[in-house]
């Protein structure tokens, strides 16, 4: 099935409108709108408790929503919708696979229900990631269980992969191997990946687009180069020192320290910065931010 029921890459694979999700009278997600076109890798960022897991679970149809709508692969998730569900791969944050089953039995059982199942890839990953097929799922380490959850999610060759902190328990080698595997998948046409993570280096390696979840909404969507171009660290230096920040509009944060004024600016052009430096008789230094710096500034 090409990109699930005729959804093309230009159409939204995920279409979330006015989503509201409450827990005990507390809004976790509020009026959240989010459209994800096909063929993209999206890194979902947000602080602890921002609602990333809740959003991904709602998108997978595993958690009911209070208001709004979610359409995945062109269909509402109000009901599971049959085989459509098999085009979604989901790796949960906690590994709620069947702990009493053996790895081999678990994968055989799951495979029996899928019309397409990549046995070659599954066997290769089990070997590469050193998972004992005869072991019980409950006997695997956290990292191994996470690997198994990833193998299981990848095996049906899903069109949409929802990964909730998929590398949190993985060692650096396994993390790199997973990212390589992810890259291989997204090179296939029509594949879309949404994954939440705190390891920003992985997002940079994957060249993922960034979506920032804050205050129950997606407050920022951008690709990395554009984000880096938009948000920068500006250092203005002069011998007289600084009493007030030399710029207010477009400044996310200003730190005045002796001769230095450090500004994190959003969408302030080079010409404006040069004019300020000239006006304040200061030396100008514009530095790009790492994704981690960006996350700290924005989240």
């Amino acid at each position: 099935m090409a990109a699930a029921d005729g959804i093309t890459q230009t159409q939204a694979i995920v279409d979330v409108r006015g989503l509201r999700k409450r827990f005990d009278q507390r809004d976790v997600l509020s009026h959240l709108d989010w459209r994800i076109p096909g063929g993209r890798v999206i890194g979902l960022l947000g602080r602890n408790g921002a609602g990333k897991t809740t959003l991904l679970r709602c998108m997978a149809g595993l958690s009911p929503i209070d208001e709004g709508s979610i359409a995945i692969l062109g269909h509402s998730v109000d009901q599971p919708g049959g085989k459509r569900l098999q085009h979604i791969g989901f790796v949960p944050q906690t590994f709620d696979l069947f702990p009493w089953m053996k790895v081999r039995g678990y994968l055989d059982f799951t495979a029996a229900f899928y019309p397409r199942w990549n046995h070659v890839q599954t066997e290769r990953l089990l070997d590469d990631w050193q998972i004992d097929r005869k072991q019980k799922v409950g006997q695997l380490s956290q990292g191994q269980r996470q690997k198994l959850a990833i193998i299981r999610a990848l095996a049906p060759d899903p069109d949409l992969l929802l990964l909730d902190e998929p590398v949190a328990s993985l060692d650096p080698q396994a993390r790199r191997a997973f990212m390589d595997e992810l890259m291989r998948i997204v090179q296939r046409p029509g594949k879309t990946v949404v994954f939440s993570t705190h390891i920003t280096a992985d997002l940079e390696r994957a060249g993922a687009d960034i979506a920032l979840l804050k205050d129950g909404r997606i407050v920022l969507e951008s690709d990395l180069p554009a984000l880096r171009q938009r948000i920068r660290r500006v250092v203005l230096m002069r011998a007289d020192g600084w009493q007030t920040a030399p710029l207010e509009t477009g400044v996310l944060r200003a730190t005045l320290d002796g001769t230095q004024a450090q500004l994190i600016v959003d969408g302030v052009g080079d010409d404006v910065l040069a004019a300020i430096a000239e006006r304040e008789h200061a030396r100008l230094d514009v530095q790009p931010l790492t994704l981690e710096d960006l996350f700290v500034e924005l989240a």
Partner: protein
């Protein structure tokens, strides 16, 4: 002394099981107040309620004993001090009260010792210690003792200071058995399906969320065998589904996953183990006088039905696991998924009824029952009705721990009462008429409850959240 920590620990049973603790507390106080009026009745009653309270404390204790709790500073000492506080209330205070009322120090000491023993036994039950099984063997063994020994024991109970001392020592020994494994940081045993039978070495109390499961010698030996049968059964079911896909093959695979040990070999092993234990038990009590065969035979239903305690717990505990099954099965609607789960569990009705009948045959043989066909037929009729009813109750019943326990207790008592009623009907009106009356009583009730519960379950949206308790 860390009063705040002791206060928190002491209050924990009331926080976790408020209804149960308050109910037990009120009944305990009520029976204590009755001591001056009729202490022959009130004192044993206080002991029984103390045993129940001990059980609730044991259940709390079991959920508390995790590695991270054990590593809290001074935890063992604070736990000991909290224990002393409870001992003052549950053991010392009633004994002093009795002494105040009767002025009889011997009696007061005996009461303190028996209270201590009751708490220890309750704790053992609540923490899932298998030693409690032996308590049930003590009663028939006492029945086997000659009349002279009975008289000597009774005399010793009322006059000797050694009896309270011995009872206290026995309780101390029991407490050591209970607390030592709980206070030891140990490896977690690998998980089983939350809905698995209790006959393979576990009791419902052991199955609290996140708790390591304690298995006895038999349970440890049986587990690999049962796991191997589950694995073979799953492989066969998957192979059948691949060869001939269809609704029946699909359901067979789902059942192999949700109820892994409920395959033919697994059921046979469970029946064999229960037969051996029950055989020993009934051989002992067979020699007792004045036993009611019908009442004892209703144990067949009790043993069979005890399986549903695990189902009630498993329905909640398995919620997160069902998310993966949901994505795998890819149902068209939520109701379709709920129907799949409900129908998969229907296998338990057949398994439970089969077990009830087998155990009933066993009891009829062991007790040399006069009318074995009546016992077996009653077990069949009541087994079917009660299993449907129990499955219905656990499918849509309460999700809290206390609620589940109350439902299970009501189901067990109800099933035993109906068993005796149907048996009486057969005695009174003959096998055919009595049996038909039994069918009329049991089946519409069971099937009606099941149909209602299934309908209700289908309207509910599947829940994949991890349980909080």
């Amino acid at each position: 002394m860390n009063r705040r920590a002791i206060g928190k620990l002491a209050a924990l049973p009331f926080v976790r099981m408020p209804a149960g603790m308050i109910l037990v507390g009120v009944v305990w106080l009520g029976s204590l107040i009755l001591i001056p009026a009729t202490h022959a009745i009130a004192i044993p009653f206080v002991g029984m309620v103390t045993w129940l309270a001990g059980m609730l404390l044991g259940m709390t204790l079991r959920t508390l004993m995790r590695t991270d709790t054990l590593l809290l500073p001074d935890f063992a000492r604070i736990l000991g001090q909290t224990g002393l506080l409870y001992a003052l209330v549950m053991i010392v205070a009633p004994a002093l009260f009795l002494f105040g009322v009767t002025g009889d120090a011997q009696h007061a000491l005996l009461m303190a010792a028996v209270q201590l023993l009751a708490v220890a036994l309750g704790l053992a039950s609540g923490t899932g210690l298998r030693i409690t099984l032996f308590v049930w063997i003590i009663f028939p063994l006492v029945g086997l003792l000659p009349a002279d020994v009975h008289a000597i024991l009774l005399h010793a109970l009322t006059t000797s200071y050694w009896v309270p001392l011995l009872a206290a020592l026995l309780a101390a020994l029991l407490l050591r058995f209970i607390l030592r494994p709980l206070l030891t940081v140990s490896d977690r045993e690998d998980d089983d399906s939350p809905m698995q039978a209790i006959a393979d070495g576990r009791k419902p109390a052991n199955m609290a969320s996140g708790m390591p499961q304690q298995r006895g010698f038999i349970g440890r030996k049986l587990k690999p065998i049962l796991d191997a049968t589950a694995q073979r059964n799953l492989e066969r079911s998957v192979a059948r589904l691949r060869k001939r896909p269809g609704a029946a093959a699909r359901m067979s695979v789902i059942r192999a996953v949700l109820l892994p040990h409920d395959n033919l070999q697994g059921i046979a092993i469970n029946v064999l183990v229960t037969t051996l234990v029950a055989g020993l038990y009934f051989t002992l009590i067979h020699h007792g006088d004045g036993m009611n065969v019908g009442f004892i035979a209703s144990y067949a239903v009790l043993i069979g039905m005890s399986r549903f305690a695990a189902v009630g717990r498993g329905m909640v505990k398995m919620q997160p696991n069902l998310a993966d099954l949901y994505l795998t099965l890819a149902p068209q609607t939520h109701a379709e998924f709920q129907a799949t789960i409900a129908d998969a569990l229907l296998k338990l009705v057949a398994v439970t009824t089969f077990n009830c009948v087998i155990y009933s045959v066993l009891i009829a043989v062991l007790l040399h029952a006069g009318a074995p066909a009546e016992l077996v037929l009653t077990a069949l009729i009541v087994g079917v009705g009660a299993s449907f009813g129990a499955l219905a109750a656990h499918l849509v019943g309460p999700t809290t721990q206390t609620g589940r326990i109350l439902v299970q207790m009501a189901l067990l008592i109800g099933a035993m009462l109906i068993y005796n009623l149907v048996l009486w009907l057969m005695h009174r009106f003959g096998v055919l008429t009595g049996g038909l009356a039994g069918i009329v009583i049991c089946l519409p009730f069971g099937l009606g409850a099941w149909q209602y519960a299934r309908r209700e379950y289908l309207t509910r949206r599947p829940c994949f959240d991890a349980p909080l308790d």
